[in-house]
């Protein structure tokens, strides 16, 4: 049923009786044109754009648990396109443009809210680095403004301007950045893909990838073999594990990133703020919770939980930046497993195996990329070649040295 004022009011009067499942809980067919491994945001978006942009509808999304149970359901909901390097800017700007039209496109309210992201700087060097970034963004028509200390104070008077260890000098403001209701992205794409005939198969873990003479034939699952002409892997967090089923070793480590939410509060923080002198970023959800996070725990892990030192580090950053939150309480913390790549940038590419495609290495930036990732991965699968937007996200860049290392920390994933 299409969502409209009429249908919503109608159902209100009928006691919400006629709503149908938002997506079918499909049973696997013997074979598909394309199988997407991973029912997270990227996998579901890929299926949607395969159907919408390339009219490939005989598609299955195979998920080991329930859709949206991975990182799309455990992140800090931030979207932005404030990148520094040419390989990244056009891709993330495409993502931002897709976000801007998403709700009308899929008829689902994901509560996209361009509240603005402010990256604070605390030294001249940091300011200059942000100016370099801001200018790079402007070269591609992405919005970026430099605020001085007073400009920041006007926006956020309750930040620590008085006794800070690293005083706030100003910030780089990206007004089109903001937040999205993360779960709704998975559900909305699932609904839209389902409506275009895509099968969403939950509780069906992929246990193997069948390859013969260098060509993919399909996937082995808990529920048996499912054939496919093409298989796309979108299992960020578990990419190494899944790729290993096809004999691939990846330039990726799986690491845990924690995030936190406070008790519900009346509005305090209108936009998104990132601290430049510590690992801390924060926004406030529509429900009133402060959603915040910081650095990776810094070691490999497949356990969706972290440890206390990072919790403390994040809160130290929070108190240093905004001592007004001292008496507010952390309600819940969670950990997501990040595909940390060797240069901090993702991989969307073909693989040495015919018909097998790879979408991984999102580090902790995967959520904001969801629409463009699905869009580009769909294109790469449908056309058997990368879209120009993901032309830089090749697997061979580590060999050639065409790295996309925004932070410039080299081959050490926990520093990206």
């Amino acid at each position: 049923m299409r969502y409209s004022i009429l249908s919503v009011l109608g159902q209100a009067l009928k006691g919400q009786k006629d709503w149908k499942p938002v997506w079918r809980d499909a049973e696997p067919k013997p074979a598909y044109d394309v199988i997407i491994v991973g029912g997270g945001g990227h996998g579901l978006a890929t299926a949607y754009y395969l159907a919408k942009e390339h009219d490939i509808r005989n598609v299955a999304v195979v998920e080991k648990g329930w859709i949206g149970g991975g990182n799309v359901g455990r992140n800090t909901t931030i979207i932005r396109s404030n990148y520094l390097l040419p390989g990244n800017i056009p891709f993330y700007e495409k993502s931002m443009k897709l976000w801007e039209g998403l709700e009308q496109d899929i008829n689902y309210n994901a509560m996209i809210s361009q509240r603005g992201i402010l990256n604070l700087y605390h030294s001249d060097g940091q300011r200059d680095a942000y100016v370099r970034r801001g200018n790079a963004m402007r070269l591609h028509g992405v919005d970026a403004e430099l605020l001085d200390r007073e400009g920041v104070r006007k926006m956020y008077p309750f930040l620590n301007f008085d006794n800070a260890r690293f005083p706030i000098h100003g910030g780089l403001l990206h007004r089109r950045g903001g937040t999205v209701r993360h779960d709704a992205v998975a559900w909305g794409y699932a609904r839209a893909a389902d409506q275009r005939g895509v099968d969403i198969i939950q509780n069906c873990e992929v246990t193997g990838i069948r390859v013969e003479n260098g060509r993919v034939l399909g996937v082995e699952t808990e529920r048996g073999f499912i054939g496919a002409n093409k298989v796309g892997l979108a299992a960020a967090g578990n990419s190494s594990r899944v790729a290993a089923m096809a004999g691939l070793k990846l330039p990726i480590e799986s690491q845990v990133l924690q995030a936190f939410v406070s008790e519900g509060l009346k509005p305090l923080i209108p936009g998104v703020i990132t601290f430049g002198a510590g690992h801390f970023y924060i926004s406030q959800s529509d429900k009133g919770g402060l959603v915040f996070g910081g650095d990776l725990d810094g070691y490999n892990s497949y356990a969706q939980r972290g440890n206390l030192p990072v919790v403390e580090d994040v809160c130290e950053g929070g108190m240093a930046l905004m001592p007004a939150i001292g008496r507010l309480r952390v309600l819940r913390g969670w950990g997501g497993i990040m595909d940390m790549s060797m240069d901090g940038s993702p991989i969307i590419d073909k693989t040495p195996v015919d018909g097998l495609y790879l979408n991984c290495g999102w580090c902790y930036g995967g959520f904001k990329a969801t629409p463009a990732s699905g869009f580009c991965f769909a294109h790469t699968i449908a056309r058997d070649e990368p879209h120009e937007l993901n032309a830089a996200y090749r697997l061979d860049r580590f060999r050639t040295g065409r790295l996309i290392d925004e932070k410039g920390v080299g081959a050490q994933p926990n520093l990206h």
């Binding site: 990846l250 990726i252 070691y299 490999n300 497949y302 030192p309 060797m342």
Partner: protein
């Protein structure tokens, strides 16, 4: 998380810094001056960029930065974080200490 440093005893992981996959000890041996063939490039690519990343036990480098400044090889389970072995990266025969 607590790591039992073979020299300092049980310490919070907070005192250590992480490098990762202990295969970084097997540095390719490419003689200087010799021309670099594809094999050499491939070997170096794999050494610098490819990592073991298993969901089970994993042997990795940790550095006791806030303690004895020794590089350690830690064998840890990636799902439980349980540590089954810790040893010095440098064999004791090559340490200053007897």
């Amino acid at each position: 998380m607590r790591i039992v440093c073979p020299f300092c005893g049980a310490r919070d992981a907070q005192e250590f810094s992480y490098l990762g996959d202990a295969s970084l000890q097997q540095r390719p041996d490419t003689p200087a001056g010799a021309p670099l063939d594809d094999a050499a490039h491939a070997a170096w690519h794999d050494y610098v960029y490819l990592r073991e990343n298993p969901p089970g036990e994993h042997t990795e480098f940790w550095y006791h930065a806030s303690g004895c400044r020794q590089w350690l090889k830690v064998t840890r389970h990636m799902r439980t974080h349980a540590i089954s072995n810790v040893e010095a990266a440098r064999p004791s025969s090559l340490r200053g200490a007897a």
